[in-house]
Structure formats: C-alpha cells, structure tokens
Symmetry: C2
Subunit: 429 residues, 2 copies
C-alpha cells in the first residue's frame, strides 16, 4: 500500500479551524502555524530558513467570515481601536508528516495543543482534518464497521434496532439479565450497558457478563438469533484487555468503551488484540463540542477514533432530548459513512448510532436525511414505553423503517400496522 | 490504610460545578444528579425508591450566583418569559463510590459524561472534585513529586531552573545534543523537549536520547551534577513503555508525556512500570479550560493526573505570553502543592512548572504569591536571550530567586549582581 507522498516528496497533514481574532487575519494564521511547528514567541538561534522550509507548518488557505459582535473568550488581545471588533475566519494549516510521524498522540500536540491558549485568539475551533494514508501503517481502523456488524448480527437491509439497559445503575447482575431476557424475547438486534454501568461492586463486570450471556445463549439456541451485547469494558488498559478476553470467551460479539475516558492509545491497544466489534461511546463529547467558540467538531474528533479502531460511534438522534440540532446529528452520521482515505486504502467507515428520545417517529426523516439504512437505531422509551409492550415497540421500529424506505407516510403505513399506529399515538407530538 | 467510609458506611465522590440555566435552580440540579446516576429522561420501571436511595447522586449544596446577561451556550431551553435571563449557580453533587468503584475512566463518565449535552443548561463547568482515599488502592499517585525530584537533581532550598530545547522541531539528534551541551554547561538543573518533538524521522527518539545522554553523562562526570532531561516519550502505550525503559537504561531521571494526548489509563499504565519522574505536559489544556462557560477547571483536571501518577505539571507562568491571568496561574500552582487526601494518606503533591515568557523578573511575585520555592522555573528567552549568554541567564535566575526569598527588591539586589542587572535591563518593562 503506497502512502501517497505529496508533490514535494513528503506527506502532509491538514487541519481546518474557525478562528476569531483582533489581529490581522494573515498575521493570526501565521502565528498559529509558527507556534505549532518551528516557531516560538521570539525567533531563536537555529530557526534557519532551511529548517523552517523543512518543518514549518504552512497556511494553506484563509477565508474571512466577518466580524464577531464581541470577543467570545476572555484573555485575548483586544482590537487596537476601542470600537473595532474581532474578525472571524476559516484557516487551513498543513504540517509535514515528518514533524511527528504517523502518531495520533503526537499529531494532537501539533493540531490541538497549545493553540487554544494563544493570546491573539478570542475563539478557536478545530473543524476538520485530513491525514495521509501513512497513518494506516500504524493504526488498524475499524475491524468490523458496518458490514462486519451486519455479519455478526445477521441484520441486513434495514437499520439495527437496539436499546439500553435501564435503570443505568443499581441493577444486580441477575436483574440485568432479566431485563436482557425480556428485551431479547422482544426481537431486539442489539442491547447495551449504560455508560454509567461498568464494574461497580453491586454489578461486577464478570457476573453481569456471565448472567447476560447465559440469557443470550439460550435465546440464540431457541431462535437462531444472536443479540449483540455492547458490554461496557471501560477501565484501565489491563482491565479492558482482560474484560475483552472474557467477553470473547463468553461468546459475545461486542465491547463498549467510553472513548473520552480512556484516550486514543488505550483504544489502539485494545484494537490490536480485539476480536469483536468496538462500540464507541462518546460521553463527554459535549465538553469538547458544544460551544461554537472553542473546542472541536465531531467531524474532526471521530476521524481520530475511527483510525484507532472503533466500529460504532454515537451521533445523538433527530429530535433528541439533548441540545444538538438535527442538522448537526445528520452531518455527524454522514461523516461516519464517508471514507476518510481515498481508494484503494480502507475508508474506515463506522456504524453511526442514533439515540436519545428515539422511536419509530424519527425513521422517515432519518432515512431521508441520511440516505442510508446503515445505522443502529437505539431507542429507550420508544421501545420500553410502547403501549403494546417491548415486542410491540421493536415491531413498531421495523414498521417505521419499512415505511421510511418504501416512501410511504407513517400515518398511511400505520393503518395496516397496529404497533406503528400505537407508537404514533403514544409518541406523536 | 483505611478508605474513610462516610457515616452511611459508603464512601462518596463529590464534584462542584458552575451552571447556567433557565430552569429553577433546584430542578436543574436534580436533573444533573438524576441523569448521571439512576435516572433517565423518563422514570423507568425498576427505578425504585430503594435503588435511588442506594445509587442516586445527591445535590449536596446549591448557591445562586445571579443572572447571566444571555445564554452562554446555544441549544439550551430558553427562559419561559422572553425577558427573563438564565440564572447562574454553584452546585455540588455527590455519588456513592459503589456506582463506579475507584476507577478514573468510569468516574469520568459520571462526573464529566453527558452533562454538557443536557438541554436545561446554557453553561457548565466542573470546578473541583473530591475523591475518597479508596482511589489510592488502585492508583499510585506521584512516585517522586517535589521531594523525589529534588533528590534526583540535587537541588534544595530554591526552585529548579529549567529550559526548553528550541527550535521545537527540526533539529537533528546531534544538533539537539549540541544545544543541551551548551545549556548544561550553563549550570541548568532541568531541560526538556518541546511537546512537538517526539519521534519524527528526522529526530528519532532513540538517537536523540543517546546523543543527549552522552552529553549529560559527560557533564555529570566533569561536574558531579546530573541534569534532569524530560525526554518526550509521548506515543502509543507500547512505545511509551519501551521509551521509558530506554530512558532508564540510558541513566536518565525523567520522561515527559503530553497528558491530554494519551489519556489517564495510558498514564496509569506507564506509572505502574515507571522508575523515573513523570513530567506532565498539559498542551491541549486551553481547549478544556479557557472558556468560563464550558469545560473544567485546572483544579479538577490536575487531581485526576496526580492520582494517575504524574510528578510535575505545567501551570503557565506569571505575566505569561498566553491568555491566562496571574491569579489563575497561582491558584493552579498552589493546588499542585496542596494534599488531595487527608493524612495519613499520601497527599499526592506534585511540582508545579512555571513557563512562558519567564525570566528573573517574575521571581519576587511568584514567591510572594506562592509562598514556596517548590517549583520548576522554566525559562526560554529569559535564559537563552540573556545579553551575557546562557550561563549568565541561569545565574540571573538564581540571583532573582535569592532576592525574592530574602525580601530584597530586584533593583537593589541587582546593584551587586551583574547578571540580574543585565536581565532587568534586557527584560524589564
């Protein structure tokens, strides 16, 4: 596999940012590039022109976006005139790969290190990044992704339908397994632990795994259907590797990890040994992504984790109960299904997980906006709170997606599909 | 060692937040506690009173702070009246330790997970947390800390004086070693790689380590002084463990890690094997900490890393060239020297590293505000740019701290100390 060197014989990493600054835009962009490569606050001995040409970051493009009403973040240099306002812009920088090599942690120090503390800036957001395929020499990307998850679950031609074990915490292993038994009997494809449930003393990992797998094995024997259980293995690295082995030994097909809690190297270490699908939970994402003035986009964030090896990742859901817009949710999900390297390299596509306030009602708009059934539709109340029971809840999801894919309005399809009609009555707004 | 259970027989974790919300404050606080423990958007079957009493998070205190001018973050529920403004408050929540056990990654899912996506909130910041000593059964804390770093460097009764190899990237191993030779000859205690320099093909880790250690060994033979070299081992976990072994084999006494790039489990895995001081670099911190409306305080952040095992951590410096206030820098440094567990448990104190725009000029105010010489004073231009040369730069730092500790004004001390006088002339404002 070639690593696609650039025209100057070296591969480059690019990163695109939204910035807000009271400095002239060209100067601000040059400060970013300098600080994150060869420069420092003052020109130092040894920073030769040759060294700058070889290792300096470059400003690839700069597009002004207009004035900000006021500085978004404190601590920045003020405009020189008291009445002037900071300017906003999009800037794309590039770095020679040889500054850090194909190493995600060291890439982060360059593209997402000290930048947010630089005084010229009263706002900064990492919007996107492109990595040269050389990163595929060190990282494995998703092992299962969309196609592999379909193979493991036997679900084809429609979204996987999933749910979450609730209450989040406080159930014993036996009580958890009872819940899972009900859920499996209802015809679900996928069930997951809450991210708050890992290995507390009242629901230890091993006991929970055994109890749930006994239920799912028995269900598979009876029905031929293997429900995927995203068991939460989040913990220290040795714990995650041990719990992965236990999950594999128990015949499970998936493990769940709270990505922001463990970091990229821990995920890459898990991926190197992993034999099942890795369900990436994004809890903590809001801290990085919610503010328009600081942080990073989900688009940039998910590329790092895809390369490191997740197979699924949460993207929130349409009309969710959190604070994210539908446009943002769909942009995230589309990106998960978009190749991050050009052919013939693997694209590292992953399965987007829609959740939060989901029911059959969101199927048509999700399908219309995403243009695909390659997703996991995870519903809590939309299944558990269905007036006809859990099995009716699962059926209502199937019916909602059948209607969506065939282009029939939900209300029309519901005339001949009782569980969908019940869902519309119960969850309709 | 006892794990100090609470009066109800269970240890609890507490976390204090700044919040901004258009909901009644008591309701908003209850939503936080519910979502991050037993609750979900709707009351579900199985969320019994017994389960809530056993596993629910509690609101321990709530103090209103007044109105916000406007919502700080988008996506939140608006006030019911168009003219009403969101309220701000500090809220302290507590969780029973048995919800997650003494596990830092799973603690994060509870105290810093989905909270930032909850729609009632237009602002949220984690300000502080307290952990029960049970965490010391699983985590090791700093191995060297202040006293151990003094022992490894032989520096007592004054701050360690350090500097950073520049240019950040682009020097060959031989050129790096030449720089270090000059710096060591100047009498420095500590030298570090820039966080942008790790293992690129033009300055591979092993060659850089060998070249630098030859210089430092020879310096130690000549002078008896062992300069501490914070060699940047940031990378994947196997790489970091291998590089640590190489650093130890080469006789080095310190390794540096970009903390936000590697994650807590990777740091804990390194700490379990580590035989030298761990220099914690906080690059990327600005993304988490700079906005007053979102993120977390350095106070909260550094507790997690101290427990995981760092020995030093960057706190910026007074009159720095970034955007942080002096008050914030001093609060961070004080916290590093404050025990995070009560006696007889280890306090896990770590050495604060002052850097960015530092010279002898900041010594008096740093000493006055911190009340301690337990710090590493890392100066770039303040040493390298000294008009008398590098050795004079180091001497000016010693003189500045002598003046500071003895309470003599710098200008007065400079009358009999030439290098300090040169520093005042060169760097004075």
């Amino acid at each position: 596999m070639s690593t696609s060197a650039g025209p100057d014989g070296s591969s480059r990493v690019t990163a695109r940012y939204w910035i807000e600054t009271a400095r002239p835009l060209e100067e601000a962009a040059a400060i970013m590039a300098g600080e994150q490569s060869t420069g420092t606050f003052v020109r130092v001995a040894g920073e030769t022109d040759e060294l700058r040409a070889r290792c300096g970051a470059r400003v690839e493009s700069l597009a002004a976006l207009g004035e900000a009403a006021a500085p978004s973040l404190p601590g920045a240099w003020a405009p020189k005139s008291g009445t002037a306002r900071p300017q906003t812009a999009e800037v794309t920088l590039s770095w020679p790969l040889h500054n850090f090599g194909p190493s995600l942690p060291n890439l982060l120090a360059a593209i997402a290190g000290n930048l947010w503390e630089l005084r010229p800036f009263s706002g900064m957001r990492l919007l996107d990044l492109t990595l040269p395929p050389a990163f595929l020499e060190r990282y494995r990307g998703p092992q299962f992704g969309v196609a592999g998850t379909r193979r493991l679950t036997g679900v084809h031609g429609r979204p996987l339908i999933g749910t979450i074990i609730k209450p989040s915490v406080g159930l014993s292993p036996a009580a958890t397994a009872e819940r899972v038994a009900e859920i499996a009997a209802a015809g679900i494809d996928f069930v997951k632990d809450d991210e708050l449930q890992a290995d507390g003393p009242h629901c230890p990992f091993e006991e929970r795994l055994s109890a749930v797998m006994r239920v799912l094995d028995s269900h598979a024997e009876r029905t031929g259907k293997r429900v995927m259980y995203a068991v939460n293995i989040t913990g220290e690295i040795d714990e995650m590797l041990r719990r992965h082995e236990q999950a594999v030994a128990a015949g499970n097909t998936c493990v769940m990890v709270s990505l922001n809690s463990v970091g990229l190297p821990a995920l890459a270490a898990l991926r190197a040994h992993c034999r099942v699908a890795i369900h990436g939970h994004r809890n903590g994402w809001g801290l990085l992504g919610r503010s328009p003035a600081i942080g990073m986009s989900f688009i940039a964030w998910q590329k790092l984790w895809r390369l490191a090896g997740i197979d699924h990742v949460h993207v929130n859901g349409l009309d969710n109960k959190f604070c994210e817009s539908n446009e943002s949710v769909i942009a995230s999900a589309r990106e998960c299904l978009t190749p991050m390297f050009p052919a013939p390299h693997p694209g590292c596509e992953v399965l987007p997980v829609f959740s939060s306030g989901q029911s059959a009602l969101q199927a048509p708009e999700t399908y219309r906006a995403l243009g695909s059934v390659d997703l996991l539709h995870a519903c809590g109340g939309g299944i558990m709170g269905h007036p006809g029971g859990i099995a009716a809840g699962v059926r209502s999801l199937h019916q909602g997606w059948e209607a969506a894919v065939s282009g029939v309005p939900l209300a029309q399809y519901a005339r001949t599909h009782r569980e969908l009609a019940q869902a519309l009555a119960a969850f309709g707004r």
